[in-house]
Every structure is written in structure tokens, then in C-alpha cells.
């Protein structure tokens, strides 16, 4: 394993320290609870938005803290949900008169940690709500499982609730738009390589030189099936073929289209995929009104990409277009 790391156990804290040093005026790092928060939070006139999840998905979620998105992120270790106590402590620190919204990607560990934290917070008299994100079409929903996973589409939910909270909306309203966006968002991913968690030191699975994993999870969980590598056109067909019929997205719809890199794929290839997908959607009569190309929710250095569609209406489009400024930035 070759990674820029000192002690693998300190990987997440050292990353968080870097975030804080890069944003000394706007971001506070609380080492006791592995927590990154807006320096000016909480604000009693605004619902506090908190997202936690395993690390290794950066920029999600620690790097989307800032005005218009998250008030705090409480990450776990790489690919492990945060301990419930840290989520609870985060909720306490961010408690606002308007309430606290806990955003959770729908995984067993995250769900349990956030539910326990919500219970504890409510016992302290904190107004809290939990919202689950489950946009991954690779997993069939079922009564017997925890259900679909939250993957790159979580960006849109975070953006929408962040914008709504910034307007001063009540907790119920913020929850409503979050659920609305989640309900019209679908994602499907493909991996070209596995990734190596720093503490494990070896790849999570083996893929042959001409193999791809279709429907891969963002933690290296295997996907729907293993397939032979094909050209970019066919990859896009596979992704759209899974996503479009699922909602379904129909001719006449306006959508946001995201091509998200899983970590190891250059942005040049992501734009190439975007161009193909946008063209194919146009051919289906679906209008791409907002576009997102880059890394939003990664799986360490995994090579691969996911495609997300969000069906837009005026309300969602306005929230997605609202200004925001987060840790991840160019200038």
C-alpha cells in the first residue's frame, strides 16, 4: 500500500486537522468527537444540518461543511459509521432553537448510530429529526434488508436542506424538502478497480484486468455483478439503463445530471462520460438543466464513476441553485 499517511489509525484525525488549518476563519475542528463544524454555528434562527458517515468518501461529508450546506459533519473511521456517542455530542454542540436535522446515508451502522443519538438528544430536550438518504438503484429494496444505500445523490439532499435551512425554514419544512429531493434522486455506479483502506493495507477485492464491478457500493461492497470492461458508450448505457426506468424519468422531464468520480478516475474521463450521458438523455427527450461533474462521493482511490439523476421542479431547482460555500473549493 502506498498512501500519504503516517499512522493509519490517525488517518481521519490528521485529515480533519488539515481541513481546519486550510480554513482557519470559517471551520472549527473538535478532536474529542472527530467533528468538523462551521465556526459560526449553531445559529438559533436556523436549523442545524449534521451529516455523519464513514470516512473515505471525501469530499463527502466533511468537505461540504459551510454556509448553504452542512453545519457539521461527524465522520467515522474509514468506511465505518461514527460511534453513536460522537453523533450525540455533535447534536448537542449544534443544538439550535429551530432544531437539528441529522442526515444519514441508509446503512445499518449509520442508521443505528443516528437513531441512538437522536434518542439521547431528544432526552436532553433537543429538537431533532433524522432523514435517511437511499438513492442507489443497484440494491433492490426489500423487507428483509436495511434497504437501498445512500450514495452520491446525497449531495443533492445536503444542498437542498442546506439552502432551505439558510432561508430560516422550520425543521418540518427542511425535512420535507430533504425527503422530496431524496424521493426523486437515483444513482448507479461502476468500479474499474478496488480501493485500499489505509488501516487494511490491501485492496478490498480483486478485479481482473478486463473486469468491472457493476453497481458497486461506495465502501467496496461488491455490486450487482461482475462484467467485462466495455467502451464508455456501453458503460453509460448500463448506468442510464439502471437509473432512468427506476423512478422513472420520462420524456419532458428536466433533470440534474451528476457524473461522480469514485476517487481514482481522472476528471477528463468524467467529462467524457457526462457528454455521452447528456447526449443520450437529450435523445430520450429528457432535458439536462443542471450539470455536476467531478468528485462528490468517493470510495478512497477507487477508479470508477456513478451517474445520478434528480428530477427537477421549480422548488428543487431554486434550492440547488442557491449560493453555498464549503470546505471543498477551487479558489
Amino acid at each position: 500500500m502506498k498512501k500519504f499517511v503516517n499512522d493509519p489509525k490517525q488517518f481521519v484525525p490528521e485529515m480533519l486537522k488539515g481541513i481546519a488549518l486550510a480554513n482557519p476563519d470559517t471551520i472549527t475542528y473538535v478532536p474529542e468527537y472527530n467533528l468538523i463544524m462551521r465556526a459560526d454555528a449553531p445559529n438559533n434562527d436556523k436549523v442545524s444540518i449534521i451529516q455523519g458517515s464513514g470516512s473515505g468518501h471525501e469530499p463527502a461529508h466533511v468537505m461540504v461543511v459551510g454556509p448553504g450546506m452542512l453545519d457539521a459533519a461527524c465522520p467515522g473511521d474509514v468506511f465505518a459509521a461514527p460511534p453513536s456517542d460522537y453523533v450525540y455530542q455533535t447534536a448537542k454542540l449544534l443544538a439550535s432553537d429551530k432544531g437539528v436535522l441529522l442526515l444519514v446515508n441508509n446503512y445499518t451502522g449509520d442508521k443505528m448510530a443516528f437513531e441512538m443519538a437522536q434518542e439521547l438528544a431528544e432526552a436532553d430536550g433537543i429538537k431533532a429529526a433524522t432523514l435517511f438518504i437511499n438513492d442507489d438503484v443497484a440494491v433492490q429494496d426489500s423487507l428483509y434488508t436495511v434497504g437501498r444505500r445512500g450514495v452520491a445523490g446525497n449531495f443533492f439532499v445536503m444542498k437542498a436542506v442546506g439552502a432551505k435551512a439558510e432561508e430560516g425554514a422550520e425543521l418540518e419544512e427542511v425535512v420535507r424538502v430533504g425527503e422530496l429531493v431524496n424521493s426523486v434522486t437515483r444513482t448507479m455506479g461502476i468500479a474499474l478497480t478496488a480501493c485500499t483502506p489505509p488501516a487494511k493495507g490491501a485492496p478490498l477485492f480483486d478485479l481482473g484486468d478486463d473486469e468491472i464491478e457493476v453497481g458497486v457500493g461506495i465502501h467496496g461492497e461488491p455490486g450487482r455483478r461482475r462484467a467485462k470492461m466495455v467502451g464508455a458508450d456501453e458503460i453509460v448505457d448500463e448506468l442510464l439503463g439502471a437509473v432512468v426506468p427506476d423512478l422513472p424519468y420520462r420524456p419532458g422531464d428536466r433533470v440534474a445530471l451528476m457524473i461522480n468520480g469514485l476517487g481514482g478516475t481522472p476528471i477528463s474521463e468524467l467529462y467524457l462520460l457526462f457528454g455521452i450521458a447528456a447526449q443520450k438523455l437529450a435523445d430520450m427527450g429528457i432535458t439536462v438543466a443542471r450539470s455536476y461533474v467531478g468528485e462528490y462521493c468517493t470510495s478512497l482511490e477507487m477508479a470508477g464513476a456513478s451517474l445520478t439523476l434528480v428530477k427537477l421542479d421549480d422548488e428543487i431547482e431554486t434550492l440547488l441553485a442557491a449560493p453555498a460555500s464549503v470546505v471543498a473549493r477551487i479558489f
Binding site: A80, A81, V146, R149, P197, A199, P222
Partner: protein, 210 residues
């Protein structure tokens, strides 16, 4: 067969040490159809249990277990933090106020752990989780106690059951946790959590004082 605080301390310490020693192995088990963090998560938490060993409240065996549970809950992430934390917390509740406890108390405590795990994670037997090793192991414990066997015989029988049951999870399809996402592809490999139960039980049996 009656137990006291020092027995609980011995068992918890042996489990904690075995978990730390098996970090890599447990992680590899989880990597087959999961995400490989199981060993890391457990080890980081039980490392702290060992480091803070002398600081836990030892009013009685139950209180001691509850303090251990709070550390595990607070410091272990992933699915395992809530699952193992809840399990230990519920067991502690059963032993609270008892300076001495019987074998039957232990069975009752472990049954409470199982209920806690089921409530927390929504899993049932046969869904390829640690329950599929833990429940048969408790059944054996109960039967062996009823049969009046000596302690060494009992812990050996429990470890054997746990090992067989863990191996048998290979034929199950995962319905819970990340492994469930792989559907039928999860069949053929053992469950990491169940195998961990087997390893812990085997180490306890081997190390059991003569």
C-alpha cells in the same frame, strides 16, 4: 457453578485481548463480501477498554459490564459499535446488583444480549449475522449447565458449537449489514461477526483456568 466480579473481569479482558490480536483476521473476513472494517472497528474500541482497564466502576459485575458497554458504544463505529455495545449493556443490566451469579444468570444475561441485538439491528436467526453463532452457543451453554457438566467441559462444548455454527453461516445468504447488498454472492463465505464469536469462544475455552 457460581461467578463473581473477578470472573467477569477475566472474561472481558480475554475477549478484549483476543479482539485486538485478531484485528487483521477479522478485517479479512469482513472484506470478502463486506467492507473490511470489522477488525479495525472492534480493535479500536477494545484497545481503549484495555487501556482504561483500571478506571471502570467495579461496584458489581453488572455495573462493570455497563461501563464497558458505554466505552464500546462511544468509541466503536460501524455496525459493531451499536450491536456490541447494546449486547454488553443488556447483559450488564441482568447482572446488576448481584455480587455473585449463577450459570443460569449468565444464560439469562446472554439471552438479554441477543434480544438487544435483535432490537437494535432488526436481524433474526438465519440472516447471516453474529446471532447465528451466538444463539446456538447459548443453547449449548444452557443444555450443558442443565446436564451438570463441569466448567471446562461446558466452555469447550460452547466453543465447539460456536465454531460449527459459524462455519455453517457459509451456506446462508446475508440479509443484514453491508454483506446483504451482494445478495446470492454472499453465499459461500462465513459471516465475519459469527466467526468472531467462534474465535472468542475458542480462546476463552483454551485459556479457561484449570
Amino acid at each position: 457453578m457460581a461467578g463473581k466480579l473477578s470472573d467477569v473481569e477475566w472474561v472481558v479482558k480475554d475477549i478484549a485481548q483476543t479482539i485486538v490480536d485478531n484485528e487483521t483476521y477479522f478485517g479479512e473476513l469482513d472484506a470478502v463480501v463486506g467492507d473490511g472494517d470489522f477488525g479495525f472497528s472492534l480493535a479500536r474500541g477494545f484497545e481503549i477498554v484495555l487501556a482504561d482497564w483500571d478506571t471502570f466502576d467495579r461496584t458489581d459485575p453488572g455495573v462493570f459490564l455497563q461501563r464497558i458497554a458505554m466505552t464500546v458504544s462511544a468509541r466503536i463505529g460501524g455496525t459493531s459499535g451499536p450491536i456490541w455495545g447494546t449486547a454488553i449493556l443488556r447483559a450488564g443490566a441482568q447482572l446488576k446488583g448481584k455480587d455473585e451469579f449463577t450459570g443460569e444468570d449468565v444464560v439469562r444475561a446472554l439471552r438479554a444480549s441477543v434480544d438487544g441485538i435483535k432490537t437494535r439491528g432488526g436481524a433474526e436467526l438465519g440472516e447471516k449475522t453474529l446471532l447465528d453463532a451466538l444463539v446456538p452457543a447459548i443453547d449449548t451453554l444452557e443444555a450443558e449447565l442443565a446436564a451438570g457438566h463441569d466448567a471446562r467441559t461446558i466452555v469447550n462444548a460452547v466453543a465447539t458449537t460456536a465454531a460449527d455454527a459459524a462455519e455453517a453461516t457459509a451456506s446462508l445468504q446475508a440479509m443484514r449489514g453491508r454483506a446483504a447488498y451482494t445478495g446470492e454472492r454472499s453465499i459461500g463465505s462465513v459471516d465475519a461477526g459469527a466467526m468472531a464469536i467462534a474465535v472468542l469462544a475458542r480462546h476463552l475455552a483454551d485459556a479457561w483456568p484449570a
